[in-house]
Amino acid sequence: MEDASQAGLDIVVLVKHVPDAQFDRHIGGEDRTTVREESILSELDEYALEAALQIVEAHGGEAAGHRVTAVTMGPPAAASAVKKALQIGAHAGVHLSDEALAGSDAAGTSRALAAVVSHLGPVDLVLTGMASTDGETSLVPAQLAERLDLPQVTFASSLELEQHGSTWSLTARRDGDVYSETVEATLPAVVSVTDQINEPRYPNFKGIMAAKKKPLTTLSLQDVGVDASEVGLAGSWTSVLTADPRPPRSQGTIISDEGDAGIRIVDFLAAQKLL
């Protein structure tokens, strides 16, 4: 771990290829898993990538030996999330691709991702978004910290790193409903960031051209030492029994205000017994 620090920070950013929320999203098949057509890099992961790039830039850049690796898991198409991350500025990409991963719940996903991070190790910082925009559970960062036995700093809305000799520490702010908290940890650590932490940059032409020369490694479960029974539907600790699309809401009464709309709202509330 100390060697890695002296050689610069090794930062892993987890990126996920998720169904684009701009379109109707579906659950399909006998497995009742999410249909992954029309997928994109999860919007919330762009904040984690931006946070990684800003840390590198604030501490001497790539020249100081810092390195950002974008990691994803999923079917072949998921590689496009890593490619987008390379275009935005990650230095290398890793794609864990294996048919056995399909249908992994948070337990299976965190098992697979922990194995990838260990395979890449020693890593100083694992950065993630605050949630995936498909599963929306926010369970994976905490489970990753547990599995890797690393400090967990989740929902960071600000993040500062400080170097002390060969070790690094971090200070983060978390804005909850009741408290704002300051959190400190020594690296290595797992950090998830909110959409309040920064303004993600877009890939530019130079970045898109440079990305073509960046290394993108594809790994199998065997490469990272995970048995197929530990991931996917077989390795999940939860099971989806039924999944039914909700009937779409039918449109109700729409009126134009003719000077009494406020009163008509209250009439409607009274009729619905909501007053």
Partner: protein, 315 residues
């Protein structure tokens, strides 16, 4: 039936309504025990007893709360090992989900979040993909850890149970944990919490920096104030008020949307509301597609008129 363990984390002076809902569900599933974090005063322990809780487990070290999630998760794991419950119920806050997440790994147990109903066989009903699908799911491995949304059951009246037994639980905080070094309490608004509120009035781009009519209508209805991302990004209201895909997901009895166009990310946060009322100047706003009652009009005249009418009818 075996006891269901309820995690109650930092309730303050009194139990929250959401804690009472969890205890109500636990009682229906076979009886409740409580893993308690925070200051336990006499009033709370009496109420827990009256709600049928026979045992309250507390951490041996008060330090558990100083380590982000890891300490609380270690305490919950140790309590599950000590009490062998049939299931664990937690609230649906992001911290509660993460406590469940880590305890789940330690206990080799599945976690299901966002439950809106729990059957006698522990089948969980929840919404996924931003409320567009209803799913039934079940934990297949270990002790089910289920985080439960607020407002899904009527709280049962408290009975006359005796004083609960107090049990202290030892747990080991992982050596590698993040420490909470500072904590500032946010000013209380006096309004209900968004995720617990039965009525929400939310404002968007259309309020143009002035949330007053939204706040006044919310107060007249005893509701919470929410906002679209456009409004929180503009700094018109604090970020914790944000409803939508990157904010809070709510399912109140009544949701009044004012000056929000209703882009898909906003709908994602609120389309499971029971009744939706929308006010927007633009007749083509997507929010009208899902509104039960929609007004094409200026929120600055419509909302104050509604507020005044509510006050008038109640007086």
């Amino acid at each position: 039936m075996a006891t269901v363990l309820v995690l109650i984390d930092q309730p303050g002076e009194a139990l929250h309504k959401s804690h009472r809902e969890l205890l109500t569900i636990a009682a229906r599933l076979g009886g409740a025990a409580v893993a308690f974090l925070g200051d336990l005063n006499d009033e709370i322990s009496q109420e827990l007893g009256a709600r049928g809780v026979e045992t309250i487990y507390r951490p041996a070290s008060p330090d558990v709360a100083e380590f982000l999630v890891a300490g609380k998760a270690a305490f919950l794991t140790a309590t599950v090992r000590a009490s062998s419950p049939s299931a664990v119920l937690l609230g649906n806050s992001s911290e509660a989900k993460e406590i469940a997440a880590r305890a789940g790994v330690q206990l080799t147990s599945g976690v299901i979040t966002d439950a809106v109903a729990i059957g006698a066989d522990l089948t969980v009903t929840k919404s996924v993909l931003a409320g567009s699908y209803a799913v039934e799911a079940k934990v297949t491995t270990g002790t089910p850890l289920i985080t439960v949304k607020a407002n899904i059951v009527e709280v049962a009246p408290a009975g006359d149970g005796g004083a609960p037994e107090m049990v202290t639980v030892d747990s080991v905080i992982p050596a590698r944990a993040a420490r909470i070094t500072g904590r500032t309490a946010k000013a209380a608004s006096g309004r209900p919490e968004l995720t617990e509120a039965r009525v929400i009035v939310a404002g968007g781009r259309g309020v143009d920096g002035d949330f007053t009519p939204v706040e006044e209508l919310a107060d007249a209805l005893g509701g919470a104030v929410g906002a679209s991302r456009a409004a929180t990004d503009a700094g018109w209201i604090e970020h914790s008020a944000q409803i939508g895909q990157t904010g809070k997901t709510v399912s109140p009895q009544l949701y009044i949307s004012a000056g929000i166009s209703g882009a898909i990310q906003q709908k994602a946060g609120m389309q499971t509301a029971k009744v939706i009322i929308a006010v927007n100047k633009d007749a083509d706003s997507p929010v009208f597609e899902i509104a039960d009652f929609g007004v094409v009009g200026d929120l600055f005249t419509v909302l104050p008129q509604a507020t005044a009418e509510i006050i008038k009818r109640r007086s």
